[in-house]
């Protein structure tokens, strides 16, 4: 065992020295390799993080959202609906919500405006709490700045920015504007007693379907959207997008396989001679192959780690800049998501195997031939 370890140590030493002499070529190789891994791993991390994030956020979401439909479109919902929903057995925690999207004519951006549920987040009268994206888009720093918002009627209303959300949740809150209820009603012209929708929790989640069915009979003008409906929709969206990315990733891997196969076909005269020398001085085929395994392993594993770590940083510390437009349906999940590090071990292992095994195999094929040849070719 010790003998085996020492042999491996010497082989690894030799391999490192051998790799070092074609430093430029090998670094280029590792770089190309790492870029492929980077793209694939970024896509994977991003998708996995979004998926887990969406499930996590939705897990906190109310089980039922009640919307009032008028001519098939969503309309404001009256406070009496709250009482009606609350009267259904098994339902708790019924609340009216005030929220919506607001188009800011001044800089052409869409904001999400809402009255927060959390009392700590409710701003003072005439002030707002905003995401960082808004002052940035408007070109001023937030401190004490006034924020003029244009009402539908055209007149401007002045708000004071009392604070902004921190950078760590920038992705989630960038375009969010929080108002207190009175300001919201005044600004959007919503009469007291009306809400944009109503949310409810259910004591026993197993009963959601039954409760929704019952409520549907009692209030035919209402639409009941369950959390499961939303999760399913998200999953579909993600699955579809992931499929697209998987196709891209597949293409990248294919390109890489071609490259590896190309390497596999040609063993340079220099390399063949080196193997001849090694065999002549007593290395056997097994030693030569172990050495090449080390080489393939070091190159591919090094590239894999480099690619995976940069992908991790890219996705979780730089917000997946390169992939965000592909994966994130702007209107669909914004502003409810923030990417927190999440890794799918199985996916990562699969990627590791997909990137290292074919490469190592490709390096080994021609070596086998050379290593099993007679060494006397190098005698002259």
């Amino acid at each position: 065992m010790i003998r085996w370890l020492r042999r491996q140590r010497s082989l690894a030493d030799y391999t490192l020295a051998a790799l070092a002499r074609r430093r430029g070529k090998n670094l280029a190789l590792v770089a190309i390799y790492a870029v492929v891994v980077f793209f694939v791993a970024s896509a994977m991390f991003f998708a996995a993080a979004l998926r887990s994030e969406s499930t996590a956020v939705l897990a906190d979401a109310p089980e039922i959202v009640v919307q009032r439909l008028v001519l098939g479109r969503q309309d404001l919902i009256g406070a009496e609906a709250i009482d009606k929903v609350a009267a259904i057995r098994g339902v708790t925690d019924v609340k009216g919500r005030l929220w919506g999207y607001f188009y800011d004519r001044i800089n052409g951006a869409n904001y999400t405006v809402m009255v927060p549920d959390d009392p700590e987040m409710i701003p003072e009268p005439r002030s707002v709490i905003v995401g960082e994206g808004i002052p940035r888009a408007r070109g001023f720093t937030w401190k004490g700045s006034p924020l003029f918002l244009s009402r539908e009627t055209g007149d401007l209303k002045k708000f004071r920015i009392s604070r902004t959300f921190g950078t760590d949740s920038a992705l989630m809150t960038a375009d969010l504007v929080l108002m207190n209820e009175a300001d919201f009603r005044d600004f959007f012209g919503i009469a007291p007693g009306f809400y944009t929708d109503v949310v409810a929790r259910v004591r026993n989640p197993q009963e959601v379907a039954k409760i929704v069915e019952k409520a549907g009979y009692a209030m035919p003008e209402m639409r009941f959207v369950t959390r499961n409906d939303i999760i399913r929709t998200y999953q579909k969206v993600f699955d579809w997008r992931e499929g697209l990315l998987a196709a891209l990733a597949g293409a990248a891997l294919l390109a890489f396989a071609i490259f590896a196969a190309e390497k596999a076909s040609g063993l340079s005269a220099e390399e063949a001679r080196e193997i001849g020398i090694l065999k002549a001085i007593g290395w056997d085929t097994r030693d030569v192959i172990s050495m090449k395994l080390w080489e393939g392993g070091l190159v591919s594993l090094g590239a894999f780690l480099l690619g995976a770590v940069t992908a991790y940083l890219h996705v979780f510390f730089f917000g997946g800049t390169l992939f965000a437009p592909v994966l994130k349906g702007w209107a669909v999940i914004y502003p409810e998501f923030d990417l927190s590090p999440h890794i799918d071990g199985l996916q990562l292992t699969t990627l590791a195997l997909l990137t290292t095994v074919p490469y190592i195999a490709a390096t080994l094929v021609p070596i086998w031939r050379a290593a099993s040849a007679d060494p006397d070719a190098i005698m002259r």
Partner: protein, 226 residues
């Protein structure tokens, strides 16, 4: 004892450029002795050494080592023999380019799985004996001809193999260094090892420790002197 019986070696057998490098060699090389092969260029010296060192197989005939027939053994056994039995100084050195002198000298020890520091120390000793310790970290392609030759000799000595085979080991060495090599060979013999050398070099044939000189010409033995 190394015995060759009716050994022939054809290169490019059956083709227009066929070469009869060895034609019917019968030879016995004593263990614990220094044997020198001499003969004109192209007479088959390198070919004979490569057969003895199990790097190539004879076209016909038998080669045995201490009574064991080696000419018919499969390749894996031959590798084992090369590793455990022979140290080889190649006529063309065959150092691995891009690696340092020290790394080259340590190469034959890699498959043995010995302690790295020990191997290194041994390699430095061999290099020191050949006045090459100062160049241990240099890449082999930067060495002069004589330095390259000495690095190749050091590599052949690293595993303390019982049989040292050296193909023109002094061709690039000056008198002082050639004598140093002869000293090393004499020392090996004193330790009970076997040395086989090919040489054009009268300094070698005439050296004190040489036990036998064998003369080759056109692939045949034309003289044996003890």
């Amino acid at each position: 004892m190394i015995e060759l019986q009716s050994v022939t070696k054809l290169y490019n057998e059956g083709r227009a450029n066929q070469v009869e490098a060895l034609r019917g060699i019968d030879l016995t090389v004593a263990r614990n002795a220094v044997t020198v092969l001499k003969g004109p260029s192209g007479s088959g010296k390198t070919t004979l050494l490569s057969l003895i060192a199990c790097m190539a197989r004879p076209t016909s005939g038998r080669i045995s080592l201490d009574g064991e027939l080696v000419s018919g053994l499969p390749e894996s056994f031959l590798t084992e023999l090369r590793r455990t039995t022979f140290g080889f100084v190649f006529q063309r050195f065959n150092l691995v380019r891009g690696l340092s002198v020290l790394e080259n000298v340590m190469l034959p020890a890699v498959p043995l799985g010995q302690d790295h520091a020990d191997v290194r120390a041994r390699a430095m000793e061999r290099l020191d004996a050949l006045d090459l310790a100062g160049k241990a970290q240099m890449k082999v392609e930067q060495l002069s001809g004589g330095e390259t030759q000495r690095a190749a000799i050091a590599r052949a000595l690293i595993n303390d193999a019982p049989i040292l085979i050296a193909d023109e080991p002094t061709a690039n060495l000056d008198t002082v260094l050639a004598e140093r090599f002869i000293d090393i060979v004499t020392g090996l013999r004193a330790e009970g090892r076997t040395v086989i050398i090919t040489s054009h070099d009268p300094r070698i044939w005439g050296a004190e420790g040489v036990d036998a000189v064998i003369e080759l010409r056109d692939g045949q033995i034309t003289g044996e002197f003890a």
